[in-house]
């Protein structure tokens, strides 16, 4: 269908367009010039409405064994019914949404792409099955490399060529999109009931440190020219003093020196000062300066007050959390690849620690260059992604932040431990579009996303407000539901309701490299594996709508 979006107020940072009234034309799922459009079949009157590219979630645990184990661990969450089956499929879950709910909720708030950031390669078949059950949005998965024995071996040998071959092999097997690494070395140490506490500490059983692992992986990613380089969940996550580890990790990227070579995910969870829970503070001010002058990028990892379920490959961290929260706990050990843990928790505004977490992520959102930071909750670790409009409204208005502190009774400990309340910064809507569209597209190397350039994917969100006349009180409501969401040139949401149930694409990266040089090592691994080498991995034809990115 050929669609014309008429008289919309357009914001597109990739073309320096900031709230200009213009018309857009869509044909065959792409944005086209008016002259190419031909006969327009549908005109959307966007008068007084804001038109932006579809949102991109760079880090949300939306598919795979972890989220599914989380769902079975928290059946009470599924009592929350979002929509019953009628036109669309039944959608449930307050925090741990079902597959249909994930696709629908993203679309309703104007998001059209989401990245599952942590998939054990051996379970990637499950991840793709679930991604294939999420309607509307485009998606991709990042396989976990961090605690694969072969990663440590090649890092210890400093062998970038072999690391490249291994990365290429594993991404191909997982039909993945890049390199994810969680608590490098820590998950391996956890298999012996331990953790690693510094990036320069040796990993048990290997002659390599987390720093060497990260460096070798970054070199491999840069040399392979991956669209998205290394996506790291840092060591020492979630504990006082973690800010120092994050600063050291940023220095590793500075040595590589290549723009976007390292993405530090859910940075908030790794940015605490102090040496105990009693004197925990925010390291956001210092770290933001470091981030702004280095090649790394980050996403927020915003904490939302209320119930959620944490889940990460970081097994030792989840165990520590379980001991603090005293609730349910799942621990998982995935052969020689990775591990994982799941713990439900509640973030309380009155808790000084949770308040610091809440404030720290907002500080990052206000202090880091919008070309380097992406809005995220590390769904579901910080909270549900449906809260993005809430986060955005707080970033855009100091008054709303102050109201929130008052209304939720946020612990006044944040006055001492963070700088949030003294920050007068209010993000413009232009900055927000960067932090939710163009910046994640750039970090992910998705050239046709996060932009309204001619030739780009017609993934578009039209919000029912004028971004040139933002009123604090209406902000949240204006962003929660779109007037229209268009995905690949089809109208999928109208007036905040799903009107068409379509399937998005799954991006994966095909890497050219010489696999032969690691043949011997791989054969050795599979001698002891539960799956034979020939049966390992996912075939492209098993995926509903694969979209290969060749490098």
């Amino acid at each position: 269908m050929t669609i014309m979006i008429k008289n919309g107020i357009v914001v597109d940072p990739t073309q320096n367009i900031d709230g200009e009234k213009m018309d857009l034309f869509i044909k065959n799922g792409k944005l086209v010039e008016e002259s190419e459009a031909g006969k327009v079949e549908k005109v959307i009157d966007a008068n007084g409405m804001t038109v932006v590219p579809g949102g991109i979630d760079i880090h949300a645990h939306i598919a795979g064994p972890k989220i599914n184990a989380g769902r079975s661990m928290r059946p009470e969450d599924l009592k929350y019914v979002r929509s019953k089956s009628n036109k669309t499929r039944c959608a449930m879950g307050k925090v741990l949404l079902t597959c249909p709910a994930i696709g629908y909720e993203y679309a309703k708030m104007g998001y059209t792409t989401a990245i599952e950031p942590a998939t054990p390669t051996i379970y990637s078949i499950h991840t793709h099955e679930e991604l294939d059950s999420i309607p509307i949005v485009d998606k991709a998965a990042l396989p976990l490399f961090g605690n694969w024995h072969l990663t440590f071996k090649f890092a210890a040998e400093g062998d970038v060529e072999k690391m490249k071959a291994f990365v290429a092999w594993a991404i191909d097997k997982a039909k993945g999109y890049g390199i994810k690494i969680v608590n490098p070395g820590g998950v391996e140490a956890w298999m012996y009931g331990k953790n690693v506490h510094s990036i320069h500490e040796l990993i048990p059983g290997f002659e390599a440190t987390p720093a060497e692992v990260l460096t070798t992986l970054m070199k491999a990613a840069v040399e392979l020219n991956l669209p998205h380089k290394v996506h790291v969940h840092c060591n020492n996550l979630g504990v006082p003093g973690s800010a120092e580890t994050t600063a050291e990790t940023i220095k590793l990227a500075e040595k590589i020196g290549k723009e976007n070579c390292l993405h530090i995910t859910h940075v908030q969870f790794n940015s605490y000062t102090g040496d105990s829970w009693k004197n925990i503070g925010s390291g956001a001010e210092e770290l933001s300066k470091l981030i702004n002058s280095s090649p790394v990028t980050v996403d927020m990892g915003q904490v939302i007050f209320g119930h959620t379920t944490t889940m990460t490959a970081d097994g030792p961290f989840e165990f520590a959390l379980f001991k603090l929260a005293k609730t349910k706990w799942i621990n998982k050990d995935v052969e020689i690849e990775t591990g994982g843990g799941i713990v439900p928790i509640t973030y309380r505004a009155k808790s000084p620690v949770n308040a610091v977490q809440w404030a720290t992520s907002l500080e990052f959102g206000l202090l880091v260059d919008p070309d380097k930071i992406v809005v995220s909750t590390d769904y579901p670790n910080g909270g549900p992604f449906v809260e993005y409009p809430y986060i955005i409204s707080l970033l855009m208005s100091k008054k709303l932040r102050e109201n929130e502190v008052k209304e939720k009774n946020v612990s006044n400990y944040i006055e001492r431990a963070t700088s949030l309340l003294s920050l007068d910064i209010e993000r413009s809507f232009y900055d927000i579009v960067k932090m939710t569209r163009s910046t994640p597209a750039k970090i992910l190397g998705l050239k046709n996303k996060g932009t309204l350039r001619i030739g780009a994917d017609a993934d578009i969100a039209i919000y029912p407000f004028n971004c040139n006349e933002v009123r604090d009180e209406e902000l949240l409501k204006s962003l929660e539901r779109t007037a229209y969401t268009i995905k690949s040139g089809e109208i999928v949401v109208k007036d905040g309701e799903i009107v068409s149930d379509i399937w998005g694409k799954t991006f994966w990266v095909k890497v050219n490299s010489e696999r032969e040089i690691i043949e011997e090592e791989l054969n050795d691994v599979f001698k002891y594996y539960t799956v034979s080498k020939n049966n390992y991995g996912v075939k492209e034809e098993w995926i509903r709508k694969p979209e290969v990115v060749k490098v």
């Binding site: 661990m73 059946p75 009470e76 969450d77 019953k84």
Partner: protein, 235 residues
């Protein structure tokens, strides 16, 4: 007003109908599910009424496939003249439900107040928590004149459950408070119970309970302070 509700036909699949005492218009237009089909109460049921100053609903006929009767009810009275389906009186806060026949599973799940009387038998999970929830029944009273199934009052925190006949296994498991009485026989009772009291005619005592005078205290596995008391069976 007393409202008499009768099924218009025999239901081939389950019906989900959250019937609670309210005004006539709301009752008639109440959305119910016949399987996955959404439909109004008056399309499926005959609704009659007469003004008598009462706040009462009488369910006449076969309601054994009708779920969620009295869900979240706050006041008034429901009388089920025959059998009732699952989840009767779940999340109930006040008022009274009387069932003359038998009841399926989940009677009074997570109820907070009010009274439920089952003159026949009840199924499993009377007064329990729903899957994954941390607390079961928190208040009110459930009386079963016949027998009940397994898992009675799991994670129960308050209120009272009385089973005049026998119960199955796992009565009061993970109990947090309140009182359960089984006049007849039960299987294992009180595992992982933290607080509250279970009175039972005859049961298996777990090794993690210790005798203290004429009662048993436990469950020691969770440092519990629950009490199990053996009482005289009803004649």
């Amino acid at each position: 007003m007393t409202v008499i509700i009768r099924p218009k036909r025999e239901f081939e699949v389950c019906v989900e109908a959250e019937i609670v005492p309210t005004n006539l218009n709301e009752l008639k237009s109440l959305k119910v599910y016949l399987g996955k089909q959404e439909i109004s109460l008056e399309e499926l049921f005959e609704i009659e009424y007469f003004e008598d100053g009462e706040e009462k609903i009488i369910l006449r006929g076969d309601f054994s496939k009708v779920k969620w009767i009295g869900k979240g009810m706050k006041k008034g009275e429901i009388i089920v003249e025959g059998n009732a389906g699952m989840h009767l009186g779940a999340f109930m806060e006040g008022g009274k439900i009387i069932v003359k026949g038998n009841c399926d599973d989940w009677v009074g799940g997570m109820m907070k107040g009010g009274e439920i009387i089952i003159e026949g038998n009840a199924g499993n999970r009377v007064g329990c928590n729903y899957w994954g929830e941390s607390k079961g029944m928190e208040g009110g009273k459930i009386i079963v004149k016949g027998n009940a199934g397994n898992y009675i009052g799991e994670k129960m925190k308050g209120g009272e459950i009385i089973i005049e006949g026998n119960a199955g296994d796992f009565v009061g498991s993970e109990m947090l408070g309140g009182c359960i009485t089984v006049f007849g026989k039960a299987g294992y009772v009180g595992w992982d119970m933290k607080k509250g009291e279970i009175r039972v005619g005859e049961c298996e005592i777990l090794p993690s309970f210790v005798k203290d005078g004429d009662v048993f205290k436990g469950d020691l596995n969770v440092k519990g302070e629950g009490i199990i008391k053996i009482i005289k069976k009803l004649a």
